[in-house]
Symmetry: C2
Amino acid sequence: MAGRIGVDLGGTKVLASLVVDGEVRRQEKRSTPTGGGPEGIVALIVELVEELGGPGDGVGVGAPGMVDVETGTVSRAPNLPGWDHSVRLGAMLQKALGGARVVVDNDVNVGALAEHRLGAGRGVDNLLCIFVGTGVGGGFVLDGQLRRGPHGMAGEIGHMIVHPGGRECGCGGPGHLEAYAGRSGLEREARARHAAGESTALVDIAADGRMKSSVFAKALDADDRLAAELVDDAVEALGIALSTATALVDLDLVVVGGGLADRLGPAFVGRMEEATRSRMFGTTALRCVPAALGDDAGTLGAALLVAGP
Amino acid sequence: MAGRIGVDLGGTKVLASLVVDGEVRRQEKRSTPTGGGPEGIVALIVELVEELGGPGDGVGVGAPGMVDVETGTVSRAPNLPGWDHSVRLGAMLQKALGGARVVVDNDVNVGALAEHRLGAGRGVDNLLCIFVGTGVGGGFVLDGQLRRGPHGMAGEIGHMIVHPGGRECGCGGPGHLEAYAGRSGLEREARARHAAGESTALVDIAADGRMKSSVFAKALDADDRLAAELVDDAVEALGIALSTATALVDLDLVVVGGGLADRLGPAFVGRMEEATRSRMFGTTALRCVPAALGDDAGTLGAALLVAGP
């Protein structure tokens, strides 16, 4: 019956699905091995593929970092243990799988592809899929095709400048969207303002851990003033970024996924839409809708890679 | 020998060229008729086409405003006299030319197409052509194709938000690039600051007329403090906009045209490149270069329209 294997390679877990006709038929999940470097990860993927019945018509992989789709080379993926240099993941995996067809792409591109073909962006040929999670990433579909760009850098919406001279991004740049709308950026700002004396429940709710998306949701529910202000800032920054992105490339739809957006729910997406529309040039009625595929977007999109570009 | 006719339809002049093998062989120029509305303009274009020996392999037209390339309909073109509604320019012109092939597109798209195929962007498949003149417009070439977008709105870089809550754009939106880098925006700001008591030579140099691009160039040469500050702001705003555009769609090259940029010369383009690179995410070495075709870009690009999309 064939089918394809989609692999979602993340910093903490590896998910693999057997996908037939655009549906997940079986799924396996493992923790990302912390030792063994790229070879250890390749061995794990081979194991998962075998458990799902072999490579079938091919194996697609969504990986973090910069990916050269032509060669299957992954670089700049500091979230993967032992992965501080360029790795020819595609070729290594193909060899380990006895010559099976293997395609590797960036995880955000893969998620955008899945939402476009099978999820909330189905039937829409010009869209941006934005993932608001720890950071903020995006993938464009333009005229029905995933836009990768000449250096595989397209869709870096998290590093748009929304407030010149503003809050510092994790990348070091000032005023980037990610500093205002990514979970890490929110946490940095919340801790700095708490340290400077502002009162907030965020630090107590987080206790000794990270401020997860659920921490922000709980603080909002408790009418925490700082949490509300930070989320207002995030909505404003997203409105600036999305209206600008639309002025540049002309879009019909924004699909919103990612852990923070998922946790804050459709009301957050509705606020994003309002913040965008109120800043739009021209009369285009841009829509923002929640992503539809959740955690399956990664493996579904990876399996789609195998079918072609 | 055939050849094609390219028409550059502007608010003050209409330029028509006979183009053979990507070169202007003959050119005719008239003032845009102020009476007669769309019919008067069609009649003038027919006259120019006949003077150039007939429509040959077809007639391409670059027009201001919003253009639906499929139907040749031009709307929102307030600079054209009597043109306050949608006009089916393509169909009208085709009929008046006895059924000749006619293609109409937006003037900025047409200029970008010309610079991509015949000018400073030759051989580069991913570029933005930005025109810094009275306003600021842009056209993207992505993967070798002009990006029009589903509503013909792609490339509206002048209406990117570069300074949230900042100077008001001609369109009414706050903080748009055009308010900082377009000649009109510079003039508005200069006159407002002069009226508020700032000393500047700009108003005297302009005398009773508009502050043309040459006025800013002269004031810069005379070390006028306000002119220098306004141009610094323009360079900064352009750097923000271009680094953001590159983060979004991934570009190799920015081609810089338009009256103000032409007048301020290669040094201005060099400053734009520096302002962009210093804000870039990632290591991509974006280049900014002056446009190569000058006033011929409009008719050359219009003639290119006839060859295909």
